[in-house]
């Protein structure tokens, strides 16, 4: 078993335990995105493409800095721009680097039916293993952040790996490495949370952003990518960041009660029919007799 496999704590579509079950690492990793110091240079987008070996796709133009509407199967990191007009009439250019949030309780993994197509490592990284992916797209349904994207050529789903290949070698993710303003940081979850909270405090106390705060949504068990927002009360302003993301209720019902009800019903059906045959036996044709009114 490889070193990486022993660090897997959760496996999609899997019967039994994960090799890393019960593994208690000292730290879980975290990417901190401080939207208040992002300048929208898109260097992180370029670094992501370069490291992962993709080329630029065709861009769109809609009179804003937004050159692509959303992330794509071969474009995992995209800054979302929003020219937000505040109540006092002033303009605020909000920029948020969008990518996989690496949820502690990942909806993609819960929805995935293919054994081992999605794994969660002990350090918190949620990674797609395309060699096991069957291309059903259930992860797309399970994700509350609109992140997994289907490649029509590969017929597999792709997303940000949090540079698992770099992180496992002790390097920081490519986007972090390239960020010129330091708005991107990488470290342990505890460290990043502390740093983010301190920055939010600074924004509240000294920069005139009384609603500044940290985005680490509890609905998905917290995330391994966290944001500092000027206005944590309205995360939707930042390119549609959901206010209270949850694994969809229907995914929970489908993978929970419906599954056990369905399994029980199917087994009960087979047992019931076998019982019926043993109790009542086959129906046999009878010889034709003149209709004597025996039947109603």
């Amino acid at each position: 078993m490889s070193q990486a496999a022993t660090e897997i704590v959760r496996i999609s579509g899997h019967v039994g335990t994960a090799p890393g079950d019960g593994l208690n690492r000292e730290f879980r990793v975290c990417k901190l995105v401080d939207t208040t110091t992002c300048i929208g240079c898109k260097a992180c987008e370029v670094a992501c493409l370069e490291w992962n070996g993709y080329t630029f796709s065709e861009t769109t133009f809609n009179n804003s800095y937004q050159t692509m509407p959303e992330t794509a199967w071969n474009y995992w990191n995209l800054i979302k721009f929003n020219e937000h007009e505040r109540e006092d009439g002033t303009l605020q250019l909000l920029m948020r680097k969008d990518q996989c949030m690496h949820c502690a309780d990942p909806g993609c993994l819960a929805a995935c039916p293919a054994d081992g197509a999605i794994v969660q490592y002990a350090n918190g990284i949620v990674d797609f293993q395309q060699e096991h992916c069957i291309g059903c797209g259930y992860c797309i349904t399970g994700c509350p952040f609109n992140i997994p994207k289907f490649s029509p050529t590969a017929r597999k789903v792709f997303k940000c790996t949090l540079c698992n290949d770099r992180v496992s070698q002790g390097l920081e993710p490519a986007c972090i490495k390239t960020c010129p303003t330091g708005c991107l940081r990488f470290g342990t979850k505890a460290e990043m949370k502390e740093l983010a909270e301190a920055r939010a405090q600074q924004l509240r106390d000294h920069s005139g952003f009384p609603d500044a705060g940290v985005y680490d949504p509890p609905g998905v068990g917290g995330t391994h990518v966290i944001y500092v927002l000027h206005d944590a009360k309205n995360p939707e302003l930042y390119g549609g960041l959901p206010k209270d993301p949850q694994v969809p209720l229907s995914v929970r019902l489908w993978k929970g009660p419906l599954k056990w009800l369905g399994n029980l019903a199917m087994v009960a059906g087979v047992v019931g029919l076998a019982w019926h045959y043993m109790r009542f036996g086959p129906k046999k044709e009878e010889p034709i007799t003149p209709d004597n009114g025996r039947r109603a």
Binding site: G13, S250, M266, Y277, K283, K284, P287, I288, A296
Partner: protein
């Protein structure tokens, strides 16, 4: 030989005479539907539970199963639409069926002589037909959403949430219908299976299980196989 014995022998050979119940077209369509349904059930169950994922492996692996499942779904839907076109008149529920429905416990306990006579299809078969036909509509609608799930814009994501629940729940209902259908037509009701393979049943079978239908066709020379 007593006259009694002679009349019994005559009655018996008449009883065993084969008459046509399903045309070649009906039978071919039935088996297209049946085989496509079995494939859909096997691959669907593979996607349903990790404990059953091996089912996808025996039919060519997960990606292959995912690729073919929707296409076989189209074939199954087409087969059921054709069935609807051919049979919907025979499947109308009438007053006799309502009486029959009340006597269903008798049917379950094999007390068939306590049931009112039935036409070409009994109320149970009608329930099966209408259950399958309405299920296939729901499966097709939710299936298209799941087939092209990646093309759906984020604003319409609620369709996905609805589709996974509908597709799984309705598929479970069809599995229940399928189990009962297979059980009844292969082991429970002797003579039923043959009607769907070579298309014929004995006069006695038709008289026993579908008397109203038998009375309509018994003197038609075209029904004798």
């Amino acid at each position: 030989m007593s006259t009694d014995a002679v009349s019994r022998t005559r009655a018996s050979s008449h009883d065993e005479e084969m008459i046509r119940r399903y045309t070649l077209g009906e039978r071919l369509n039935h088996w297209i539907g049946a085989l496509s349904y079995v494939y859909l059930m096997i691959t669907g169950l593979a996607f349903w539970s990790p404990y059953l994922f091996w089912l996808a492996v025996i039919v060519g692996g997960g990606p292959t199963a995912r690729l073919w499942h929707p296409w076989l779904g189209l074939i199954f839907s087409a087969s059921l639409c054709w069935t609807f076109k051919e049979w919907h008149r025979d499947m109308r529920v009438d007053d006799d069926d309502r009486t029959w429905a009340k006597a269903m416990p008798n049917y379950i306990q094999n007390e068939d002589d306590k049931l009112p006579p039935t036409g070409r299809f009994n109320f149970g078969q009608k329930l099966f037909f209408w259950g399958m036909f309405s299920s296939v509509i729901l499966l097709l609608l939710s299936g298209v959403v799941l087939w092209f799930t990646e093309s759906l814009p984020w604003s319409l994501r609620y369709l996905r949430y609805l589709a996974i629940l509908i597709h799984a729940s309705v598929a479970l209902i069809t599995i229940g219908l399928f189990l009962i259908h297979v059980y009844m037509s292969t082991v429970l009701e002797k003579g039923s299976f043959g009607s769907m393979t070579h298309g014929t049943v004995t006069r006695a079978w038709a008289w026993t299980f579908h008397r109203k239908w038998y009375d309509q066709i018994k003197d038609d020379p075209r029904t004798v196989a």
